[in-house]
Symmetry: D2
Subunit: 333 residues, 4 copies
């Protein structure tokens, strides 16, 4: 089974392979998933359910046994692996969804010796591009590997509507594409390994800045006597418009169905936004890029993080931070 | 002529009046225009040409005699006034387009004693909201007055496609509307007097911030190995998108027909952007609003302004400022 | 009396005059004081008490009658004036201590027509340099005028240990000097009119920045496991040292007798620091100077100002703002 | 020889030992030095020269053979080691002076298996506190280890007047002290392992911020008409004073013998300052500390770094960056 992995060079191999199939044409791949957390679990669930006809098996691993037990109990046919190495030894396609760079480094170190020649490794964790490139490089002589961080949050993971930003060769991207389709709606090729992460952190860094800028602008306008809805409407048809004003406005009452209109619950929590800002700023340190706007925004999010009662709010709470309204959420000592 | 001005209270008067007409129904208003500079001249020209059937006369004034002479020579029927007071004494509708708050204060001081009862004063200068409110208040017992700053630049002024952001009562807005239609495409009522200025500076402040944020993000992505066009494309379908990425991208070559693709010539020059940032930051001082993003952006534009060779570039040159590429434009001592 | 005022040109006059005397040598000047607020009252009191032998009279004015009544009651011989013009008509030396630029403009407008030829006007208010220069210019053909803003706070005003930063000609400075000595300890000539204000706001702008920088540094070190006193001690003998670390450390417990060690009560309240930052930033707008550090610090102080419960704290509370400890002071709605 | 290393527990051992001696009292330690770069070479030279009587041998290593050859040729008795492990195998006291965290990690990994039990390891590199703690922890069961980053630059290294900020146990500090005295003037104990680095980066982060703040303040004052020397003098006796105004003023001509007065040559180059800012900001990310001032300053230094012609200037060149005067140094493409 999967003998093709030995015989065919990764790059040549891809073009000839049909979607979801292994090279021999007769056998189906085994799929592995590592990391069954808040994001990973619904992603794995969609992958499990939507690829049933296209795979031979589904093995899962998580450091928390309970997460694995829960998954195998609710997904008939899913099998517990004993370690990342065990997943790598069994699976032809491995998706990882882990919290941070050190986790990804560790899991790839464990998988590297055991990985099946010709396998496909997809890392959907959001980590720094340098680590993404390093872990990919550590396995690319034996397998295809892509970084494929996501946007869309737990909601998108559950609904299977995530956006995947994929870094890797074109053949590796093409090979990963059908599996990612099972978990998302938009799969974008961003260039070579690491570029998925670059695209993700660039977008989120800009989001962190534009949200802070939108929040302070709305606050200023309101303090100067403007109606918030009218101000948003004017900006949204002018040169100041951005996603943070027209889709996710941070002022309570301006838009329905956004976190600002439900006490900043749900959405994209400050610690997650700040994590991404941190990754972007760290990358900017690596390449010595001056990013004064993101640096200013990042400090705001860290300041909010340090304030008891705001730690889990959606990042658009930066509006209330600047206006002083946030004190309603403060947890006093 | 214009006897209605005496008899009808400003607010009641409006509802009964047909567009472009004076209250009596038989007489047409005289139009005055003060400030025939880079913006004012094309605006006055459109107003002159498109309202010929709806007005009785057209008087103009500028502190530079040559500007007036040139206008009257090229617009048959336009008449030179000797001063702002002279314009005010003759015209039923007066549009002012001046460089800064002190100019507007001075012109309104000169017009106030001479203004025709029931006239309509439209100030299209971009100035601080406090001054806009003060000058309006100084004449509102005798006339209707609105602040109506524009966006769209010299191009929009020439094409007659400006956006007007109007502050004043609803009747005053309705009364100003047809005249503004002659010079622009989108006429937006922003609330009471001063709110046109508030909307304008809020939008432009946010624009200044999002452009700087977009520029640093593109620079980071490029330094990390991303193709600029691809990065822009990804951001433009994601949560980081803004006018500065999808309509006016600051990286040369990403979009055609924007200043970044023609050595940052034309467009919205750094001093103009910085002037608007300064107005916004000054307003933020007045109301004690914390605007850390705009404050950071403003310092960048001032830093650029202080650099010989960059003074007249489009504000999107902030991309080259951050990347170091700007040195190609530097004028050494 | 004071006939010399008429006969002697201001600049020549000064050199020949002995301290505290009028030019004739026989007559003593009348002193006027306008603005008996928190700072003005103790200043006026010291001036009254320490110059008894050197003056012929002492007239006072304040917009609050109660302040004047209280002063005249407790300072035997002090006489109530009915207006700034009345002070100007009677006094040879007039000190003003007012809250802001518009107040100074207004008082000087009232004094200008009434001012005694050859008088000396000293404005100790902290205002923007442009206004300081304008009001001085408005009276310099008839009198000597200096701007002489102070540092040292209410404590220094009471103890008579203020520092005066004086802008004006050297003769005017020399003439003002003895009167200022009665209220302060250090009298510094900073150059021409307005430069007293420039020196004051430059110093305070830098103070606002270094305090914020010191606060964030102490917070970082503490979070990284350093003992605060030890960290302060190391910095204070190294290149990071500044007044905010070695004289006014913002971390509670590091130094005794500073606001941080008494719940940030007393000292230099956030609104006063922010007022001075605002003046400096406004001046920086006027001359198009890029001041990114002060701009960042200013936003912090405005953010603190917007937070209920922190409005009156000493400005070193920025340490608790950044560390999250400030929530203990928050006043919830 | 050095049998005490086996028999005595590290912490108990120290108290009983006389300076410079090994525990037995009869034998002298061998000293090792790794990293003979710009800083390391003069440090090693001083250590070699001043401890001749107190040591049994001196072994050196550098990845550049030429650096080693040059050192052994000019320091009679110094012996080349073949690797960090070789140094560790021979020396009782090992000083490392390396460019960055990865270098230190690598050298400690190489030394760990070979290190003499009971040895003393002193790392004088400036690196992130987390790495400092990790490498110390990796060897503390067998040896004493301290982090001892320096301030004072190449000048201080040559003159033997460096300041060492030392992190480690008190006994380890006491044991390191005499060796550090041979290279520096001020040896400060900052607490446990890593705290030397914390103190260093906190101080330098604050320095980076105060220098930028001092520079922008001087620029503003000068633009407002103040004499630079007078402004510096006033600030230096007021609450805005800091090392960057009173010892290392960034405005050419204000002080003699500082980099600003020699075209910003020599001193502490922008890349070195930016490296330390980067370490501090990275540490701030680790502990989620909001450091808005340092973040703003860091972006300035990175912006300067990106500008051809400024890369090697002293960090006080930030004054010319803000004032626009820097264009005289620009290297055009």
């Amino acid at each position: 089974m999967f003998a093709f992995h030995v015989r065919v060079a990764p790059s040549a191999r891809m073009a000839a392979r049909r979607m979801y199939s292994s090279a021999s044409g007769s056998s189906k791949p085994v799929v592995g998933f590592i990391g069954l957390g808040q994001m990973g679990r619904p992603m794995a669930s969609n992958l499990f359910n939507k690829t049933a006809a296209n795979r031979a098996g589904f093995v899962v691993f998580d450091v928390f046994d309970g997460a694995v037990a829960d998954f195998t109990k609710t997904h008939d046919g899913a099998v517990r692996a004993s370690s990342p190495a065990d997943v790598a030894a069994q699976a032809d396609v491995v998706i990882t969804m882990l919290p941070s760079s050190p986790h990804v480094s560790s899991v790839y170190e464990q998988m590297a010796p055991a990985v099946r020649k010709g396998a496909l490794l997809i890392d959907s964790s959001t980590i720094d591009p340098a680590t993404a490139r390093r872990v990919a490089k550590s396995v690319l002589d034996k397998v295809d590997a892509v970084d494929a961080p996501v946007s869309g949050g737990v909601g998108g993971a559950t609904a299977g509507t995530l956006t995947f930003m994929v870094g890797g060769t074109k053949p590796a991207f093409d090979r990963a594409n059908p599996w990612l389709q099972a978990m998302g709606k938009s799969i974008v090729h961003c260039g070579d390994n690491g570029n998925g992460q670059v695209a993700k952190i660039c977008n989120n860094m800009l989001l962190g800045s534009t949200m802070a800028a939108a929040a302070e602008t709305m606050n200023l306008g309101i303090k100067m006597g403007m109606d918030p809805k009218l101000l948003a409407q004017i900006i949204n048809t002018s040169s100041g418009r951005c996603w943070s004003t027209d889709t996710y406005n941070p002022v309570p009452g301006v838009m329905a169905n956004v976190p600002s209109s439900r006490d900043f619950e749900g959405g994209f929590a400050v610690p997650l936004m700040q994590k991404d800002m941190g990754l972007a700023l760290s990358a900017a340190q690596d390449v010595k890029a001056s990013v004064p706007m993101a640096a200013a925004a990042d400090q705001l999010y860290k300041n909010i993080l340090a304030t008891p009662g705001l730690e889990k709010k959606d990042f658009s709470v930066v509006y209330e931070w600047l206006s002083g309204l946030f004190v309603r959420f403060v947890r006093k000592p």
